[in-house]
Amino acid sequence: MKKFFNELLGKGDYRFMRRRALVVLMTALILVVLTGCQQEYKMSILDTAGTVAEVQKSLIWLSIYIMSFVVTVVTVILIYVLIRYRRKPGDDTPPKQVEGSTLLEVVWVLVPIILLAILAVPTVTTTFSLEKVQAGDNILNVKVTGAQFWWQFEYPDYGIVTAQELHIPTGTKVNLELETRDVLHSFWIPRLSGKTDLISGRTNFMWLEATEPGTYIGKCAELCGDGHGVMDFLVVAQEPADFEQWVANMKNPQTEPTSALSEQGQQVFAQSCASCHAVAGTDFAGTAGPDLTGFGNRQKVAGFWDQTDENMAKWIKDPASMKPGSLMPAVPLADEEIEALVAYLKDLK
């Protein structure tokens, strides 16, 4: 056996190095296990919270079972062969030259066909079922528009527009119409549903349904330019009653400044921001950038960073430093003006 390992690892006495390598390897393994336990998976496609992801997860698990079986069979045969049929030293006579075996070869054609058929049937049926536009009483329609590098969500049934945070009621099927303003994007919420691309000059469709309330991270999954890596959004799934309340608030949002600082911020907004950003219930109606109605209630700045005063100020000062390629210009504002602006934005609730 020792000879065998020498042959595998190269001749010479590596025992000392091997022991050291073993220690390093074990330490690494323990570290991996320890840190692995502390991980919290917020975007796992196997930790589903929605109907569509659930369907996809069951297909994924089925394929994992089948494929683990295949890998195990091959590995076991391989290890057996490598140990059993290694050449004895000095044995140079060729072994029996076997041409093949029809029976065996038929076996390993038929078995894969059966395994693939087991996977192919649910694949085909779910492919068709996921494609259907959902109909019925309890349906929400949302129009999703992707742009470099942010997301807009329109609720035609309610006449409201928002950005970066998609609010949906739980237990309700949501039909999504997907369009892009510029390049291709792809709309993906790992815990709720697989992705669908946003294609220039075309309207795509997908549906999803959240089964439990929560906040889910969404991702752009098609390379769309410099800021692709941080083109995130959130999906906030709420109990239907909470959702109705959110809709009511979005229809009639608070837009008045609540402090002197905030009032100053409103003026800055009017001068420097309103040409691109809209706020429902005010005169600000720019459409180039994200709608900021109810911005004070959002959890993230620019869809990616936690909503803190520092992050907001940093973003306003130089958007491209946080999100490369962002089309929002770094408007030259004094620090006091930015502070005022932050105060005003937090008042938009």
């Binding site: 919290e40 295949v70 590995t75 044995d91 996977l119 492919t127 294609i199």
Partner: protein, 631 residues
């Protein structure tokens, strides 16, 4: 007759390999003008190794950026450039040249031929590849690199969203290299069909030659869509045409189809030869013929055939409709069947054999489970609704690196170790080779196995950063550690090559002792003319048959006589250089120079057509002195 032929030897007969005394410039000139398939093969392999290093460094830079969340080492546009250059370099300028190099060197030897069918065109192919790769990579010195990914989806890659010249370097560089690849493929197809030694029927061809043949056929059918796509891209970017820009009435999905009708077979173009190499290595070091040879051949043909018709699985999330997705999902799964045949046939080649664990054999053995993982994740991706989750996530990155690295690179490195003594007449270092294998094997799995998990836990590909606290830190740091370990193993490989070239022990004709195919019957390194006498082939594994049942040497199919050789020529290099000038000037809209570049090409063609070059002959005495007493 033989006497008369000897008299035609022209005074310009170049010195044989051993007798060159021309100094460095003469040496360089000899390589620039060579039409010898073996030297061209080496140039191809050198190009491949250089760009493997370039692409590898780009990969290590990306892994450095992704080692920790919120890292700001290489972000935004620069990261996208790295990612684009890495992918394009690795596929077009590392994998393809390495494979074409091996085809070039080995295929004529395995079929008992003296060269490829069109030596001149062969030289043209390699120099087009060289200049295409150069044109693509010099973009850094012109201040802009392509950043739209290696599949350059429109409209991101179009002028509106990529205004710099970077994408033009991508379009023109690939176009020029693509011409070379297409010519090379035609050359191999004709060579394999027409130039086999007597007795070498198709069903006696070594499996590596079979895979080279199928791979070349795939190139023949897959590259024209790319050529067309790149032409349209060029017209859209440089001459203001409209094909892909939806804002002006074009259709971005048209490019996706053209690219992936090429792009998916491309994967098979590079993996199929890897199957061939593994088959050769496994058979040699088990000292046993390939189990189920006819099924293996059928499996290769089937993989190639089905592989041409599954490209839509790259477009599952485009929204082409349930019917199309379902059909292509099932079609893609079918590829699993012939692939399974191959895996089990390898296992049963070793079953009952006498396995010798040399470095090439370790790489071939490492290939098998790795490639099985690549195959099964491929089937998982084929299940369309599951793919809606996997598509463009790190799971895909893991999958295709298991095929392209665990598959192609393992096989190619194994093949380098395997055929190195044949190339240079010297062995590489076995002990170092084993370190090379283990660092590469462990580094590879440490890099890419965790990527399955980062994909499942929601990490999209091509992102330059990720949030802390969402569960991605561990897998990314593991991948980074593994990537640097692989970097170490590539350094070991280069050291071992240098050792082999300078200090390696001298290799016999059949240095492994258990060679089965024709190339192991001739001297190492291979003389210019390959076979002193064209061999007569009596069955599959021709050399093994002669060793065990015959006289221990090849049977000749012709008497010993002067050997006709093609003359070297500088024209292919000049033609490719003309193409390079044309490409560069198109990028900068200097169309006057484009005409000059294409003019150089045209003039060379005329010169070549007018020149009635008979080639030259190697006299019998010279052959005798090279072959020794046996001839």
């Amino acid at each position: 007759m033989a006497k008369k032929l000897e008299e035609v030897v022209t005074p310009s007969t170049p010195a044989l390999r051993s007798g060159s005394k021309k100094g460095v410039w003469g040496w360089i000139y000899e390589w620039l003008t060579t039409v010898d398939h073996k030297r061209i093969g080496m140039i191809y392999m050198t190009i491949g190794i250089v760009y493997l290093a370039v692409g590898g460094i780009q990969a290590l830079m990306m892994r450095a950026q992704l080692a920790s969340p919120d890292n700001e080492l290489f972000t935004g546009n620069f990261f996208n450039q790295l990612m684009t250059m890495h992918g394009t370099n690795m596929i077009f300028f590392a994998a393809m040249p390495l494979l074409f190099g091996l085809f070039n060197y080995i295929v004529p030897l395995q079929i008992g031929a003296r060269d490829v069918a069109f030596p001149f065109m062969n030289a043209l192919s390699v120099w087009l590849t060289f200049f295409g790769a150069l044109l693509f990579n010099i973009c850094w010195f012109f201040g802009d690199a392509p950043a739209a990914g290696w599949f350059a989806y429109a409209p991101l890659g179009l002028k509106t969203y990529s205004p710099g010249p970077g994408m033009d370097f991508y379009v023109l560089g690939l176009q020029i290299a693509g011409f070379g690849t297409l010519m090379g493929a035609i050359n191999f197809i004709v060579t394999i069909l027409n130039m086999r030694a007597p007795g070498m029927t198709l069903m006696r061809m070594p499996l590596f030659t079979w895979t080279a043949f199928i791979s070349s056929v795939l190139v023949l059918f897959a590259f024209p869509p790319l050529t067309i796509g790149l032409f349209l891209y060029m017209f859209e970017r440089i001459f203001g045409g409209i094909f892909f820009d939806a804002a002006l009435g074009g259709n971005p999905i048209l490019w996706q189809h053209l690219f992936w009708i090429f792009g998916h077979p491309e994967v098979y173009i590079v993996i199929v030869p890897a199957f061939g190499m593994v088959s050769e290595i496994v058979a040699t070091f088990s000292n046993k013929r390939v189990f189920g040879y006819p099924t293996m051949v059928v499996a290769i043909v089937l993989i190639g055939f089905i592989g041409m018709g599954v490209w839509i699985h790259h477009l599952f999330t485009v929204g082409l409709g349930g019917m199309i997705n379902a059909i292509f999902a099932v079609a893609t799964m079918l590829v699993g069947i012939p692939t399974g045949i191959k895996v089990f046939n390898w296992l049963f080649t070793m079953w009952g054999g006498k396995i010798k664990f040399t470095t090439p054999m370790l790489f071939a053995i490492g290939f098998i489970p790795t490639f099985v993982i690549a195959g099964v994740t491929g089937v998982m991706l084929a299940a369309a609704p599951a793919d809606y989750q996997f598509q463009d996530s790190y799971f895909v990155i893991a999958h295709f690196h298991y095929t392209l690295y665990g598959g192609v690179v393992f096989a190619v490195v194994g093949a380098l170790y395997y055929w190195f003594p044949k190339f240079f007449g010297r062995m590489m270092h076995e002990g170092l080779g084993k370190w090379n294998f283990w660092t590469m094997f462990i580094g590879f799995h440490l890099t890419f196995f965790p990527m399955h998990f980062s994909g499942i836990f929601g990490m999209p590909r091509r992102v330059y950063t990720y949030n802390p606290g969402v569960g991605l830190e561990l897998y990314n740091v593991l991948s980074t550690i593994g990537a640097y370990l692989m970097g170490v193993s590539v350094v070991l490989l280069v050291i071992n090559i240098l050792y082999g070239l300078t200090k390696g022990p001298k290799a016999a004709n059949d240095p492994w002792g258990t060679g089965r195919t024709l190339e192991w019957a001739i001297p190492s390194p291979v003389p210019e003319y390959n076979f002193a006498q064209t061999p007569y082939v009596r069955g599959l594994d021709a050399w093994f048959i002669e060793k065990t049942e015959g006289k221990g040497k090849l049977q000749a199919a012709e008497p010993l006589g002067p050997i006709h050789m093609p003359s070297p020529s500088i024209l292919p290099f000049i033609m490719a250089f003309g193409m390079f000038i044309a490409g560069l000037s198109i990028i900068y809209h200097q169309f006057f120079f484009t005409i000059i570049g294409l003019g150089i090409w045209a003039i060379c063609m005329v010169v070549r057509s007018m020149n009635d070059d008979e080639g030259y002959h190697i006299p019998v005495e010279k052959i005798r002195s090279i072959e020794g007493e046996g001839a």
